[in-house]
Subunit: 245 residues, 2 copies
DNA sequence: GCAAAAGTGTTGGAAATACACCCATGT
DNA sequence: ACATGGGTGTATTTCCAACACTTTTGC
């Protein structure tokens, strides 16, 4: 169906589609995936080289136009899979970015979705456009307004991991408390007291002792725990946190 | 420009535009404004009667398609003004809703924006489509997926007023602590201890004593305070809130 | 036995909670 | 004088932050 192709990404070249959108005065809708990973005690993000001439040496997020008949979140999962081959990951919507001039080729409103994945446990199956992991700290310029989107998503992540157990998806199923703490320290970019950190997590009662220990470490091995999602789901969310601003 | 009209709301009838979008396989983008107000100790929301036949007796949020050359937030402010005549209000983006089948007439992705206004201090200047305030508690069915959008926005509001001084825009510039507490109690749907509530707010140091008192109350008049936005802006935001989930 | 990280308790201060009486005003 | 909500203080508890030594393992 040719009319569908005007807004679908399909097989057509994205530049052609954008040109078409622009000439017909149509607003495009895209999804950009911000995929965070954690490795070597550093927070990283997946980026590709931009398709567009204008940004040909700039890095960009994993994005594409959405199709006519897919939900926004379906589009996000599709795009993630098309770009990386990844499946079975969380995706959460963070924000819509809709400035009129954010895209040079056409008017495109984009919705940012965030995902956290374990770099070791998810092999990238597609490596087009130089897809690879970038340390968060060493990213400077990016294509479009993607630097801004990334910043918003990073701030969202910093807040979100403190009130939601998102972070566990960045770790192996069984992890040591040191790994968990490294994760929080890296994402929040702060140092935490080891004893208080343990106390906090144990008191939440959501860590399950696996009776296993780290191996191949050049020091005393730590116990391995896993996160009890079931118990977490059952907990009732409180609506009163205490006013603080 | 006729191509612009295919996506702009402009003067054309919205039903015509939707039909056109659908027949051309184009995805529309709209903004829906969720306008909360506070009156008689109750949280209310502004709704209109839906334009569409299918939902002709259902209430709906204040929405419209966005124009080609306006930012998303500009569109939100425009739509709010077109529907109500209101200006000078906060608007915050809450979430995009993009299920493929959420709109019966065409594929439309919508971005919800929230606003809080003081019912007494903002006169509605336009009353088309039976625009008026509805008590949050007495809303049952709504058009489209607007009930769901409203629920998400309400939950967003409940969380947001605890970490951000949003709520003050629902009150007069000068307000008593009782009014402030009523607001929090109504929105969160809980009872709070009066003394602890005061202690909390005073300790934040953001309330300014106006040296004025309530009038025309059939009991001891309360002091009136105003919120010191300037001082609030200067405060540095903390990135560590304490893990809790 | 040395290096490296794991594991563990206590204490002081701050903040949250629970709770009851007197005060100022309008009627 | 009474009804109504305004205004205040204290004791208790809970939570958070600061802090140092012993243990286990690999080399």
């Amino acid at each position: 169906m040719s009319s569908e192709a005007t807004i679908a990404s399909g097989k057509k070249n994205i530049k052609t589609i954008l040109k078409q959108l622009e000439s017909e005065g149509i607003i495009g809708i895209s999804v950009d995936c911000v995929i965070f990973g954690f490795d070597e005690n550093e927070l990283k993000v997946l980026l590709i080289k931009s398709d567009l001439e204008k940004f040909k040496n700039k890095w960009s997020l994993l994005g594409d136009l959405i199709n006519k008949n897919e939900d926004l979140r379906e589009a996000a999962y599709r795009i993630l899979e098309e770009r990386t081959g990844l499946r079975d990951v969380y995706l959460e919507q963070v924000k819509a970015f809709g400035e009129a001039m954010r895209h040079p080729a056409a008017r495109v409103v984009t919705i940012a979705y965030c995902s956290l994945i374990n770099i070791q446990h998810h092999q990238l199956k597609i490596l087009d456009n130089e897809l690879h992991w970038h340390k968060i700290k060493s990213i400077d310029e990016m294509a479009f307004d993607h630097k801004k989107i990334l910043t918003v998503c990073y701030e969202w992540l910093q807040k979100r991991i403190q009130e939601h157990p998102l972070g566990f998806s960045l770790l192996p199923g069984k992890f040591s408390l040191r790994e968990l703490q490294n994760l929080y320290e890296a994402i929040l970019n702060i140092k935490l007291d080891r004893r208080n950190f343990r106390k906090k997590f144990f008191s939440m009662g959501l860590l399950e002792d696996t009776q296993e220990y780290e191996t191949d470490v050049p020091h005393r091995p730590g116990k391995l725990y896993k996160f009890n999602y079931e118990k977490y789901q059952k907990k009732e969310r409180k609506k009163w946190f205490g006013i603080d601003f």
